[in-house]
Each structure stands twice: as C-alpha cells, then as structure tokens.
C-alpha cells in the first residue's frame, strides 16, 4: 500500500531524528516462588476463587468422572478433539459407559461447523499445556487437532490439567519452554469463566465466553 509506505518513512524519520537517550537496564525483579508440594493446591484454590469448579482425579478415572459431572449439570453434549490423546481417551471410555453425553467431534473447519459451535453444543473439552499457580491460570495452546473455538463458544469449558505441569509463574514457564522461539498461531491464558463487571461493578459470568469452567486435575 503506497500511502502506508510514505507514512512509514515519515514516522520512522521523525522518530530517528529525535534525540537519543540512554537505554535503561532492567532492574532485578523476582516473580514469586512456591513450595513444590504447595503448587498444585495453590493453583486449584486460586482458580476456584475465580469461580472455576475443580476436581482432583486420576489418569484412568477422569473420563468417567467427567461424564458424571456433566450429567449432574444437565449437559448433554461435549465437543472434543478426536485427534488428541485426551480426545481419544474420552471417546474410548465413554463408549463403554451405559449413559454418557453425546460426543461431537471438532473435525473440520469452523466454516462447516459454525452452527453447532455457536448454538449446538453444551460443553467443550481441551487439554492444557501447563497451569500457573500464581494466578490460577490454564495455558491453552491450540493446535490443528485441538482448535481455538472449542474452549470459547460452548457454554461450558472443561480443561484437563496434569498435576505435574503446574508451574509457579508465567515468567518461569515462558523461559523453561523457550516460548520466544516457537510461538504458535495463538496462546491463551484462561483464569476462570468469562466475566464482566461493566454494570455497576457487579460480577456476572458468561457474558461472551463460557459461563462455567470445569477443571480436572489429573494426579
């Protein structure tokens, strides 16, 4: 775009013509550190305080627990990612249950699934890349197999967290996993269900994203 090129040249020329000042150093700052045996509990209690529902479970038992929790909540369908380990596990496990919510795969582009996503499914299941103890946050790292909208459009989001992936802080996580070298299309931190306080600072949930967030911590 031609205009944009002129604008670019003019803006950069003005900025470069301005007097230079010294580049300040970054002073020391330490993000908080928690005891290893406290970490998972802290994560659970902070995200619970942000209105999430947390369950502690095991690697084998979580799909059955999820079916039970969903039935209790009256949720009759779950969107899942058939290409992921968690997705396959839930499909296999629910196949053997007498009563389980319907499974809806996110297996084609959003353009072909829009109606289902926007109005037709009760919950969405995702894995998490990690979780953060300091702020009670889930780290979602969507992929081709597990797309972005499944944690956003259904009224309930279910996230599976492996206890060993809980870290103290975002700072530690970014550094240890070398995020700067491998940022994907989208990363999102989720710290509770969708909320707003725009009407008289009164909290209300589910204004655009999920109204409920269910976290299954797998030990």
């Amino acid at each position: 775009m031609n205009n944009s090129a002129t604008a670019r040249a003019n803006i950069l020329a003005r900025l470069k013509a301005a007097p230079r000042t010294a580049v300040p150093e970054r002073p020391e700052w330490q993000p908080p550190v928690y005891d290893a045996d406290e970490r998972v509990n802290r994560f659970a209690s902070v995200i619970e305080a942000s209105h999430a529902e947390v369950y502690h479970t095991s690697a084998d038992a979580w799909p059955a627990l999820l079916a039970e929790v969903m039935q209790r909540h009256g949720l009759d369908s779950l969107m899942y990612a058939p290409g992921t380990v968690d997705g396959q596990q839930v499909a296999t496990a629910w196949g053997t249950l007498e009563q389980a919510p319907a499974l809806v795969p996110y297996d084609r582009p959003v353009e072909e699934l829009k109606d289902t996503l926007v109005n037709g499914v009760a919950a969405g299941l995702t894995a998490t890349r990690a979780a953060i103890a300091e702020t009670g946050s889930l780290v979602l790292w969507p992929t081709a197999e597990e797309p972005r909208l499944m944690s956003l459009l259904p009224p309930v989001h279910v996230a599976v967290v492996r206890a060993e992936t809980v870290v103290d802080t975002l700072a530690v996580l970014m550094a240890s996993q070398h995020w700067a070298q491998q940022m994907p299309t989208n990363v999102v931190l989720v710290s509770g269900p969708s909320k707003t306080a725009d009407i008289e600072q009164t909290l209300a949930y589910g204004v655009h994203g999920p109204k409920e967030l269910i976290v299954l911590i797998v030990h």
Partner: protein
C-alpha cells in the same frame, strides 16, 4: 481563559447521579487495587521493572517498530502505517472493502475511539458493532466512553436497564444484572456469528516475536479475533514490548492496577493468521500502527515519558478531579491525569490547554502509575508551555493561553517578592486596607463566587515578629 473542560466541569459537578456513580466506582477500584499491592517491597521491585521495560521501549522505539514489522510480516501478519487517524480509517476501510465486508464486530480499542472509526465506517456503509459489554451499552446510548478501562462507568443499573428495555426486543425493564448480561450475550452472539471481520486493540505488541497480546475478561476479544475470517488490530506506535520475557511483569502490573484483578480472565497472544490445516482463526490478520502526534511528542526528551503509558486507568481512579467531574468533561478520548498530559500533546495546547490546569498536583496519580510516568512534572511543564512560547516542536499551540492580565499580576508578584522595601510597603497597605476591597472586584470575584474570601490579618508577619522582640530574621 476558558476551554472545553472549564465550560463542562460545572455541569458535571452539579449532577448528583453522575457524582454518585463515579464516587462508588472509584472507591471500589481503589480498594481492590490497594489489596493487590500490599507488599510494598514487591510492588516497588515490580514497578521499577515495569517502568524500565517501558522506558527501554521508548528509548529504542524506531528500531523496535522495524523489528515488530519484520517479525509480524514473517508470521503472515500484514502491517500498515498511518500518520493520522484519517489515514488509519482509510486503511481499515480499504481492507474491509477488499474483503467485501459489510459488518464488523469490535473488541475494545481506545485507538478506534481516537479514529472515530465506527462513525467513519457507518458513513461508508459498514456496520460496526461493539461487543465489550460496556462499549455495547454506550453504543446503544450513543455516547463516548467515560473511562479507558470501564467505558460505561458513568451509568448505573437503572439507566442501563432502561436502555436495554428500549433496544432489546422482548426483554422489558429489569435491573437484574445476570438477566441484563444474558440478554447482551444473546444479542451479540448472532452478531459474532455473522460478522465479516473483527477489529481489536492491542495491549502489548512483542517486537521479538511479532506477537499481539490482548487482555480481557469477557471473551469478546477472543471471539472478535478468532471467529470472523478477517482480523484487524489497531495500535498506537508506542504500545510495544521488546521481548516476550518483558510480558510477565507488564501483565502483573496492568490488571492489578486497572481493576485489582491478579490477572484478567483471558490473556490472548496472537502471532499469526490461521495456518494451513488449522480449523479456525482468521485467514487474514492486519496490524495498523497509528502515529497521530506520537512521533511529535517523541521529539521532546521529557514529554516522551508519556509514551510509556500502558492505559491501566489507575491514575484516573485515584484522581480527585476525575472522580468528581467524570470522563466526559474532558471531551477528548483520554480523560483523567493521563488525558491531561496526553491530550494537549496530541491535540495541541490551543484546544486542550485548560486541561493541565485542572489538577491539584496532589501527586496521587504519580504514586499509583505502574510505569512511573512523572505526570505531575509533565502537568507543570505543560502549564508553563500553555502560557509561554516554547522552543520544543513537540507541543502545538504553546503560549496560546497567554493572558496579559495574568502575566502582569505575576510580574508584579515577582517584583514584590524580590524587592524587600516594596514587599514591606505592599504588605502594610494590604493589611490595613485589604479587607475593604469588595468581593466583586475584578480578579477577586472569580475566587469569591465559589469560596469564602480570606481575611487579611491586621498586622503583617514582619510587624508581629518585630513585636515579639526579633529585629532580624
């Protein structure tokens, strides 16, 4: 001596509903913020880090912009540059028209308010729907935001209930916040599903990785940037972070300072459009970099500190002036202390020159600013600039508020205070005759119309001291 602010302030001050709405909101926000920063040592260390991180961005701004552009481009994000809001509007329109877009859904963006984008798009046949609940409410009301973080903070529940009853079919009047929120969700869901493009702001753009960081609580930002096939992000040229590792301290400062939350519900990091094989996300992502006066501010070494701002709103929440007059009194997009320094720099002292004067210099904003912008110093600087001409090319309209009467008074004041004999004589005359000057005398009546007139003591301080037996101070 008047300006828009001066004219609007009395109306706001005499509106009890507005006063109540702001008082309640500001008290709540201040309490919640204070609860987040109880550990003073941790706050000091974090804030020093945040301030340095943003000061580094300012000191390397042109190079970081080039780096951001290169990395975004490599990631598949198209970068555009706009010198003025008119150019930015034209760029957005061109992108939308090329895609055949008729309706856009918007996340919150103060830059889009600077551009008056909704209005511009409307004039060109494109409907822009605000999706942030607060922005949606004021769009229904046909108003501008009154706060940069909580745009409809000036409205109370009953005002919003009446607005919804009028605009949302079949809802009726209800003050139940959950019902109101659910009604907005329903109304906007359909808009999301049928929008041709999403428009958002940017909280931090990471030069190192070409990543756009957006914080929000509602999920409307995620929806606007994920569901429609096209995403346009708008940002001022200063809203950068150098590296990804600079994001954690900034994220730790922004929501805590803004609303007293440890973190927002969602932190969105967008680094590219949909890649082959991915099932959702926009096919195109555009980033529009808006200058609109910022590079001019940058020319001045002192004033450029303004460009560190992360738009948390803490300065307005703690401002004794803002909390009494509300956001609309400032007329321009950015109210409160940050507005009082930014607006005169962006728009010129000739049209917003009264704003730096609308401050008590109490320093509350300086104490809470997470990136340590010396707001009070800049207010004083701009006050001086508003009445004197200036060598700095950074601010337009310097000297525009020069007033010969005020200049004369100050000159007289200076003479008295630097000539002991004149001072002694003047003080003596005022102590004897000062109380006889009527309240309605010129230059006194502006003060006495709203305040009691101070009484002159019968004797000057020098006389009293001498009576006490001191003959030399």
């Amino acid at each position: 001596m008047s300006g828009d602010f001066t004219q609007r302030a009395p109306g706001a001050l005499n509106d009890p509903t507005l006063r109540r709405n702001f008082r309640r909101a500001m008290d709540g926000l201040m309490t919640k913020r204070a609860a987040q920063f109880q550990d003073t040592a941790a706050w000091n260390a974090l804030r020093a880090r945040g301030a340095a991180v943003k000061a580094r961005v300012v000191s390397k701004l042109p190079e970081l912009l080039e780096q951001l552009e290169a990395n975004c481009t490599a990631n598949g994000i198209t970068v555009h540059w706009a010198e003025s809001t008119a150019e930015a509007n034209a760029i957005v329109l061109e992108i939308l028209q090329a895609a055949g877009a008729k309706k856009v859904i918007k996340g919150k963006s103060m830059v889009s308010e600077e551009m008056e984008l909704n209005h511009y798009l409307g004039d060109h046949g494109i409907k822009a729907v605000e999706s942030d609940l607060g922005e949606y409410i004021i769009q229904l009301a046909g108003e501008a935001p009154s706060h940069i973080v909580m745009p409809c903070i000036h409205k109370n529940k009953s005002e919003i209930a009446a607005l919804f009853a009028e605009h949302i079919d079949g809802l009726g009047y209800t003050e139940d916040v959950d019902t109101l929120t659910a009604a907005a969700r329903k109304a906007l869901r359909n808009e999301f599903a049928t929008a041709d493009a999403g428009i958002s702001g940017v909280n931090f753009a990471v030069a190192e990785t070409g990543t756009l960081v957006l914080v929000e609580n509602e999920g409307n930002g995620r929806l606007s940037t994920t569901l429609p096939p096209l995403h346009i992000a708008l940002m001022g040229i200063e809203k950068l972070a150098e590296t990804l590792e600079d994001i954690p301290p900034l994220l730790s400062l922004l929501p805590r300072s803004a609303t007293g939350q440890a973190i927002t519900t969602y932190v969105n990091m967008i680094s590219s459009p949909r890649k082959p094989g991915e099932k959702d996300g926009p096919e195109q992502v555009h980033l529009v970099l808006l200058d609109s006066g910022r590079s001019r501010v940058y020319a001045d070494e002192q004033l450029r500190d303004t460009l560190r701002c992360i738009r948390c709103g803490a300065c307005m929440n703690h401002c004794p002036v803002y909390s009494r007059v509300g956001g609309h009194t400032y007329k321009f997009v950015y109210p409160g202390p940050i507005g009082k320094i930014l607006t005169p720099q962006l728009e010129g002292l000739d049209c917003a020159g009264d704003q730096p004067h609308a401050s008590t210099l109490c320093n509350a904003c300086v104490e809470v600013c997470p990136v340590k912008i010396p707001i009070a110093d800049l207010l004083v600087r701009l006050r001086g600039e508003s009445v004197h001409s200036s060598d700095s090319p950074a601010v337009k309209g310097a000297g525009s508020r020069h007033n010969w009467r005020e200049a004369l008074v100050w000159r007289g004041w200076k003479f008295m205070y630097s000539h002991p004999l004149a001072y002694a004589a003047g003080a003596k005359v005022l102590s004897r005759l000062g109380n006889a000057i009527p309240d309605s005398a010129p230059m006194i009546r502006e003060w006495t119309s709203v305040r009691n007139r101070p009484k002159f003591a019968g004797k000057t301080l020098h006389e009293l001291v001498r009576e006490e037996g001191y003959d030399h101070e």
